[in-house]
């Protein structure tokens, strides 16, 4: 499709701008999470957009969000951000004497002025998590983790910084998709080793084998969904299953702004369509979906195709999760839904 019909109100310039902004932001700042990037780009767009009335703004935002989600292969965690933003607008408008324009301007100004602050907060919340999440790592224990989650990385580094605690890490490294590139998480491994933490790196195949010497599993998540389950890098689900089988605690670490209003019933009930399981017969070549998804023009509304690339995710059901570590403490999966419910109702 062409850019022009992306937005409802014809004015396409900001769209491109802000979609670009989004990617720019992501690439510019390594530890910026998708939801926050989304929020920030929304804010910027808002700033650029001289809307006056509330309804108009909301309308406009909606369209922005759509474009944005349309623009990325895997919009799950992104949508967490955008949803949050929209809900915040609405709810805070409601709490005020609704409609009074001064209030609205106030709010708008607040948002615009503090764009950086939000980002800052997001990063802070990661530190907070690291700050007390580290208490899960006890002296002499062995932690198994997987994927390139920055929160988990931060958490482990934080723990490593405490002399009182000596622990070991088993790091599950998937094979890197693009040959040559190091699998995600390698830098965390290096960082930990640099801090003197003994780290073992194993392939995804060796998880079950190594579990018997592991005391706990800590993984990150792209999104935490309504039933308390987690959507995370492909392979997390199986680790969860194995941990359960060995009755080893399985913790998911996620900032609360990654809570998504989503209720997947299973692996294939995610808003994205992944070609993880691909049946082939000889000399039938699979099109490299990944290449396509990256450029916008190819992408269609609704479900996006996504092959077993770095973005492939799976869904870990709540019954496998012992606790979700957020910046405001440990939540049982059951508590998550309440959280989300509160935002939306």
């Amino acid at each position: 499709m062409s850019l022009s019909d992306v937005s409802s109100n014809g004015n396409s310039y900001p769209q491109v701008l802000k979609v670009a902004t989004y990617h720019a932001l992501l690439s510019s700042d390594a530890d910026l999470t998708m939801p926050v990037a989304a929020i920030e780009s929304l804010v910027r767009a808002l700033a650029a957009h001289p809307t006056s009335t509330i309804s108009e703004t909301l309308e406009y935002l909606k369209s922005l969000v759509e474009t944005l989600t349309a623009s990325v292969p895997n919009p799950i965690s992104l949508s967490a951000g955008t949803d949050l933003f929209q809900r915040y607008l609405i709810s805070s408008l409601q709490t005020r004497q609704a409609g009074s324009s001064t209030d609205f301007d106030m709010l708008r100004r607040h948002l615009i002025n503090n764009a950086r602050l939000f980002v800052q907060r997001a990063k802070d919340s990661r530190n907070i998590i690291a700050g007390f999440g580290k208490n899960f790592v006890r002296d002499g224990c062995t932690v198994l983790t997987a994927g390139g989650s920055r929160v988990v990385g931060a958490l482990l580094k934080e723990s490593a910084s405490r002399s009182a605690v000596r622990f070991r890490v088993v790091y599950v490294l998937g094979q890197s998709e693009t040959p040559g590139a190091r699998p995600e998480g390698s830098d965390t491994v290096d960082a930990l080793r640099a801090q003197g933490v003994p780290v073992a790196t194993i392939g995804e195949g060796a998880v079950a084998y190594s579990l018997s010497q592991v005391d706990m599993v800590i993984v990150g998540a792209e999104g935490v969904v309504e039933n308390g389950g987690a959507i995370s890098r492909l392979g997390t689900y199986q680790i969860g299953l194995l941990a359960k089988a060995h009755s080893i605690p399985f913790y998911v670490v996620a900032e609360s702004h990654k809570f998504v209003r989503l209720f997947p019933l299973g692996q294939y009930d995610l808003p994205i369509e992944q070609q993880v399981v691909e049946f082939k017969v000889e000399n039938e070549k699979v099109v490299d979906e990944l290449a396509k998804t990256v450029d916008l023009t190819k992408s269609s509304r609704g479900k996006r195709k996504l092959s077993n690339g770095p973005h492939a995710v799976d869904f870990t059901p709540p019954d496998l999760i012992s606790g979700i570590i957020t910046e405001s403490g440990v939540l049982t999966p059951s508590a998550v839904s309440e959280e989300l419910i509160k935002i939306w109702f």
Partner: protein
């Protein structure tokens, strides 16, 4: 004989002396009693602590609720330190703090928060803007304005001892309540009080300040009756602790049917009342697991005399409670080893936790986890009877640290007779949430997964990290 004899210090002596000793002395004494385990058992601890705190509140010189809070939380932390594994102590302290906030409506007083957060920023690298945001669950007046009242300058009084998680077996448990709902928004909230110190928006600030000042004024005015009110609240709390067992037992008949085969882990006061109540309408059998080495004697006495003490050391006034056998219950005493053998005939298992944790797990006398496991293996429902005061807002990070390890001489023989053998006598067990089917509290029955909610309703977020380190 003890009548005119000397009496070993304990709950009774403490309560008796509470009124005549100086407050400081009572505190010291209580701390020692807790440390020496001369007051033990969640109920006794709860009563003792509540008693002391009540006294503190009553004759506190505090001329502001804030002072009161500080005073209570300081003493509270020392009490917790004295017996960190007895979670009931901490629970009561937190309940009281929460109560004070509720009554005084100081729930959204920013000083505490800013001070608290500042301490958190400062020392733990934790800063949680959203915390400043949170409204006490107790706060009756949840006016939206509160959400904007920002702390201009945190004038922090004496720093509260920093929650040093490194050693603590616990971590705070999130309070999924309106406040955490807000903290999802924390990201986007008004920046006025953010550590990054973006200049606050002026015309937002003024009303906030005014409201705040207002608060303080009316505080000082009303401090006396506030304290009065708090006192009443605490008496209610005491009653709750006292009556928990009865209240729980009221629902007994909903859970126990005729010809049930119950397995009970020991015969705690609560369990006993529960079964006794059920026995009035139903005819059933209870297998009482003895609970050697630590609980055996008490259990046997409970069966035989209806009181944990044998009449000999209870000078003559046994039978205060009616024994189960007299109520027509079939009581079968079994040793711990027989659990698995018996379980195949058991229809329900009753546990009596020392403490219940926010994740739905529980801490109880040693052997409980074995029973729970056996029950699970036989698909027998496991019910845990627990007063709400046993319900702690803490999340078990390291289950080993929840466990009290007692003296090996409980296993008989003296040091020498064991030679080089390492003899261990753990006294408590931790039972994972998934092994418990139902919690029966004085509020009714709850699934383990729902306990977080009850925690949220009973504790104020500020108090959760209170001295968990010691």
């Amino acid at each position: 004989m003890p009548g005119k004899g000397f009496r070993t210090p304990g709950l009774e002596s403490f309560v008796d002396n509470l009124d005549e000793f100086k407050l400081e002395r009572s505190t010291e004494v209580l701390i020692q009693l807790l440390a020496r385990r001369q007051i033990s058992g969640s109920k006794n601890c709860a009563i003792a602590v509540a008693g002391l705190l009540l006294r503190i509140v009553q004759d506190s010189p505090a001329n502001s609720v804030q002072d009161l809070l500080d005073q209570v939380s300081q003493i509270g932390q020392r009490l917790i330190a004295a017996q960190p594994r007895e979670l009931a102590v901490g629970n009561i302290v937190r309940r009281v703090l929460g109560l004070i906030r509720e009554v005084s409506g100081i729930g959204q007083d920013d000083e505490i928060r800013s001070e608290l957060s500042s301490m958190l920023d400062g020392q733990d690298g934790l800063n949680r803007p959203e915390m400043l945001h949170s409204i006490s669950t107790y706060s009756p007046l949840r006016h939206a304005a509160s959400e904007f009242t920002g702390a201009s300058t945190p004038e922090s009084p004496q720093p509260i001892k920093r929650p040093n998680f490194a050693q603590s077996g616990y971590s705070s448990f999130a309070m999924p309540s309106t406040k955490t709902a807000m903290n999802l928004f924390g990201l986007l909230a008004e920046p006025s009080y953010s550590p990054t110190g973006t200049p606050p928006i002026t015309n937002r600030e003024s009303p906030a300040l005014s409201t705040k000042n207002l608060n303080i004024i009316q505080e000082q005015a009303s401090i006396k009756e506030t304290i009065q009110e708090i006192g009443d609240g605490m008496r209610e709390l005491l009653d709750e602790v006292d009556l928990a067992a009865e209240q729980i037992s009221e629902s007994a008949t909903d859970y126990i049917n005729s010809n049930d085969m119950i397995m009970a882990q020991g015969l705690s006061d609560t369990t006993h009342k529960f079964l006794a109540e059920a026995a009035r309408k139903r005819k059933f059998t209870v297998f009482v697991v003895e609970g050697e080495p630590n609980e055996g004697q008490a259990t046997r006495n409970m069966i035989l005399y209806g009181s944990a003490k044998s009449p000999s050391d209870d000078d003559g006034q046994e039978g205060t409670t009616k024994r189960l056998v007299d109520l027509g219950v079939n009581v079968v005493l079994i040793p711990d080893s027989a659990i698995f053998a018996i379980m195949s005939t058991v229809t329900k298992v009753l546990l009596a936790p020392q403490a219940v944790l926010a994740n739905g797990g529980l801490v109880a006398n040693v052997g409980t986890s074995m029973i729970a496991a056996a029950a699970q293996a036989h698909k027998v429902p496991v019910l845990a009877l627990s007063g709400v005061y046993k319900l702690s807002p803490l999340y078990p990070l390291d289950t080993d640290e929840l466990r009290e390890i007692g003296s090996a001489s409980g296993l008989g023989g003296s040091v020498g007779s064991w030679g080089k053998v390492n003899v261990m006598n753990p006294m408590w067990d931790y039972v994972e949430p998934e092994k418990v089917n139902l919690y029966i509290t004085n509020l009714g029955g709850h699934a383990p997964s729902y306990l977080y909610r009850i925690v949220a309703d009973h504790y104020d977020k500020e108090d959760i990290n209170l001295g968990t380190d010691m």
